[in-house]
């Protein structure tokens, strides 16, 4: 009952005209940016962040969340119509979405993804409302060593599971931690690695890091993708609603996808891409139409979308209750909250219940808005895809500049974005994933603070991390993940070595 009452309270907050408007703006802009091929939800959030600093924290959070799931949804439109995933998670949707569009069933595919997104979003919201309060309760007993261990686990999980080489992923997290130390040390007041540049005294702004690593470098990467161009499949509006049998075949995949997604979304470091991939793989095993997977069947489009969207919602659980982001976009959410002077953690639920439940309720409202935006108004988005990219990207470029410049009204920030953007692009080329770097950057200062406090409390005895049951368990899990990753990458390395000696290439 408690949850219902809280939820009703949250609903009343989100239904205030102002919050309703920001929720709509978030969902709308998110879909807008997500539809643009090659630009993902991270870049979308990074572009919206500067705007959110002018709002009150609850509206800001509601809007950022709207941008996030809006962009995740928008990504599926480009994947179905053009076979270019707008977001990484949407690449799973491409597998069956594009063949469906080529069969002339793009409309039905889009309709199914809209329904699946909605279903998944609602499942994610329910899980969040049910689980978050008890997790926060548990986290109230956490001491500094436990927090240190949670952060460590989050960092290792996020890097080990990232795409590509785990070794590089972990190196990127550590690099992010190091980047986070630039600026004034909050404990001692000394300047670190500022190279005498006064603008670096407050550290590197998170918007600059995110905009450089994602906005600028994704923009560079997307220019050529879009220039090489691909044809957009047109939609037949007469064939937009699934038949009765198809409706039936969608229901249980959505439920399964949503449940799988909500589980993986809440784990640190997995995120929507993995959630969508696993949900697709499971469905491919058990679906009655499993043989047709990959050739364009509706359940195969619905499952990853449902998983994707429900993971998007449950990713907020560890973010808000522990203050540990499970995925890079969540790292940006934490950064945004900190700028508003709010430290996410177990006390958030008791100290700012309006904000938490307002957010939960906004998932319901936002998902309904998504449905409205995407079923009657789907034509707008498909027309957006027809605008030549050569007009879009110079415009986006100006928006990035404006966003960065508005942080401090200082052109130094633009120069810094240029440097980080160029580094980010080269990193991508060399297969160093920028996402773990961002997570490390956000969590670095927190991790250092908890490390210092733990050592102070334990009078310099590092064994404290293994003596407390919670931190010991978390560290054991961390070591387990690390060991598994090392084992896997070494066996991969051997495999590559042996296959190179064969005369196949």
């Amino acid at each position: 009952m408690d949850i219902l009452a809280n939820f009703a309270q949250g609903l009343s907050i989100v239904l205030q005209p102002e919050n309703l408007m920001y929720c709509f703006i978030g969902v709308f802009l998110g879909t807008f940016i997500g539809v643009l091929p090659g630009i993902g939800s991270l870049a979308a959030i990074a572009m919206i962040l500067p705007l959110s600093f002018y709002l009150d924290p609850t509206s800001a959070l509601v809007m950022i969340a709207g941008v996030y799931y809006g962009a995740e949804y928008g990504g599926s439109i480009a994947s179905i119509l053009m076979n270019i995933p707008g977001t990484p998670a949407a690449s799973i949707t491409c597998i069956d979405g594009y063949p469906l569009a080529k069969k002339g069933r793009a409309g039905v595919a889009l309709f199914s993804t809209a329904m699946a997104s909605f279903g998944g979003g609602i499942i994610g919201m329910l899980v969040m409302a049910a689980l978050a309060p008890s997790l926060a309760q548990l986290a109230l007993s956490f001491g500094p060593p436990d927090y240190f261990a949670v952060i460590l686990l989050g960092l290792v999980a996020a890097s080990a599971v990232s795409n590509g080489s785990a070794l590089k992923g972990i190196a990127m997290v550590v690099l992010g931690l190091m980047l986070g130390t630039i600026g004034i040390d909050l404990t001692t007041g000394d300047q670190r690695f500022t190279m005498g540049i006064p603008e670096l005294r407050d550290g590197v702004h998170i918007v600059i890091v995110a905009m450089g690593l994602f906005g600028v470098s994704e923009l560079i990467a997307s220019i050529r993708d879009n220039r090489e161009g691909s044809t957009t499949q047109s939609i037949d509006y007469n064939d937009f609603y699934p038949s009765k049998a198809e409706w039936k075949s969608l229901l249980s995949p959505i439920l399964r996808g949503g449940s799988i997604g909500s589980f993986f979304g809440a784990l640190p470091g997995t995120g929507q891409t993995i959630a969508a991939a696993i949900a697709y793989a499971v469905e491919k095993r058990i679906s009655p139409q499993k043989k047709k997977f990959g050739t364009g069947v509706l359940p195969a489009v619905a499952v990853p979308e449902a998983a994707n969207n429900s993971a998007t919602q449950t990713a907020f659980i560890p973010t808000l209750t522990l203050g540990v982001p499970g995925s890079p976009p969540m790292a940006l959410v934490i950064g945004a909250l900190m700028i508003h002077g709010i430290t996410p953690g177990p006390r958030l639920l008791t100290e700012a219940p309006d904000m938490f439940w307002g957010l939960v309720a906004s998932f319901l409202i936002g998902n309904i808005m998504l449905l409205i935006l995407n079923i009657p108004l789907i034509g707008i988005w498909t027309r957006l895809l027809k605008i030549p990219y050569k007009y879009m990207y110079p415009t986006i470029m100006v928006l990035i500049c404006m966003g960065v410049y508005s942080l401090n009204n200082n052109v130094f920030d633009i120069w810094l974005t240029l440097v980080i953007g160029a580094i980010g692009y080269v990193m991508r080329l060399y297969r160093f994933e920028p996402a773990p770097l961002l997570i490390g950057f956000v969590l670095g200062p927190l991790m250092e603070e908890h490390l210092r406090r733990s050592m102070l409390l334990a009078r310099g005895d590092a064994m404290v991390f293994l003596e407390r049951p919670i931190s010991a368990t978390l560290i054991a899990i961390t070591v387990g993940i690390l060991a598994f990753t090392v084992y896997k990458s070494i066996s991969n390395y051997r495999h590559v070595r042996t296959s190179k000696t064969q005369p196949t290439k």
Binding site: P88, S165, L175, G294, T295, M402, V411, W415, G460, K505
Partner: protein, 334 residues
């Protein structure tokens, strides 16, 4: 038929260099084909290739098959330029191609069963679905049939290449063939050593942080100093960067072909905004940023660039200054 007549008139070396890229990694076959000159038309050239392929004995053909790349190989930059283009048409050179896993398992099964990689003329397939379908069917076939089919497919690949060559036209095609003979990939040294370059840069950064950390003061375990955290993370990164150098010596190559023109335009656009935002004001800065960012778009006329820039500038004025009340000046010194 300009290309063909050039081929007929060329001296032996030039002719060989033009034929080489037509047949995947088969210099001997190319040499023999070049001795069939002059060719009456494209078909005669294709027939000569088929004739020479059929003349190979079992051992020679197997060697030729094994010189072929797999579909969606882990190191796409090692393929010949022609193969890269053919596979790129189906998105197979990208590391995150959706078919990568599927193909990898099929490649392994095929390799194990027949002892040579699966060879297919991608030009004959509309999409990857049909490629995979034929892959699975051929996997079930007998070895003799597959050896025969591999020869046919190599011939089909060559025919498709001959066709592209003559349709691309004269000078362009010739320079392209010449180029691909000289080097497979212009950025290959950058790509091949990606692990070492990346690891090396990280190592330098880690050294800076370790030394910087010591200078800032490490403190004691009880009261960690300002430099302790940079020092510890620096040590970890140092170890990781060495491991990257060691384990990923040759890396997996670049994730995509670098777009230097695009990146230069974007960086220049940022620089222009930084230089002009405070000197000229928001509207001129937005205008110039759009202008510079769209420089590489050759099919965007000067007029449309100007119109686009003006529109974005005015939209920024309305949106950021009038509606959001941000403290920017639309124009400075006008």
């Amino acid at each position: 038929m300009n290309t063909l007549s050039k081929l007929n008139d060329a001296d032996d070396d030039l002719a060989l260099s033009m034929i080489l890229p037509l047949i995947e990694r088969a210099p001997i076959v190319a040499k023999r084909v070049s001795e069939h000159r002059p060719f009456a038309d494209d078909k005669a050239l294709c027939d000569a290739i088929l004739h020479e392929l059929r003349k190979l004995n079992e051992e020679e053909s197997l060697a030729l098959f094994r010189a072929h790349p797999e579909l969606a190989p882990n190191q796409p930059h090692l393929m010949t330029e022609a193969s890269q283009q053919e596979q790129a048409r189906h998105g197979l050179t990208s590391q995150d191609s959706q078919y990568r896993e599927k193909l990898s398992s099929l490649n392994d099964q095929y390799q194990e069963k027949f002892g040579f990689p699966f060879i297919v003329a991608l030009a004959c397939h509309e999409d990857m679905g049909s490629v995979i379908q034929s892959f699975e069917m051929r996997l079930a076939d007998s070895r003799e049939a597959e050896v025969q089919r591999a020869i046919e497919q190599i011939h089909a690949v060559s025919s498709a290449r001959v066709q592209t060559l003559s349709s691309v036209g004269n000078t362009n095609a010739e320079s392209k063939t010449m180029h691909s003979v000289k080097s497979n990939h212009p950025t290959s040294s950058l790509a091949v050593w990606s692990g070492v370059i990346g690891g090396g840069v990280l190592f330098i950064i880690s050294v800076v942080f370790v030394i910087g950390g010591i200078e800032l003061g490490l403190g004691s375990p009880f009261r960690l100093g300002t430099g302790a955290f940079p020092f510890i993370t620096g040590l970890i990164l140092g170890a990781l960067s060495l491991a990257i150098c060691f384990y990923e010596l040759r890396g997996d190559g670049l994730s995509s072909t670098p777009d230097w023109i695009g990146s230069a335009a974007i960086c220049a656009a940022l620089a222009v905004f930084a230089l002009t935002a405070e000197r000229l004001g928001l509207v001129p800065a937005a205008f110039l940023t759009v202008f510079v960012a769209s420089l590489p778009e050759r099919n965007l006329s000067l007029v449309s660039k100007t119109v686009l820039g003006s529109c974005v500038g005015i939209a920024c004025w309305i949106l950021f200054i009038e509606l959001l009340n941000l403290p920017f000046k639309p124009f400075v010194g006008f």
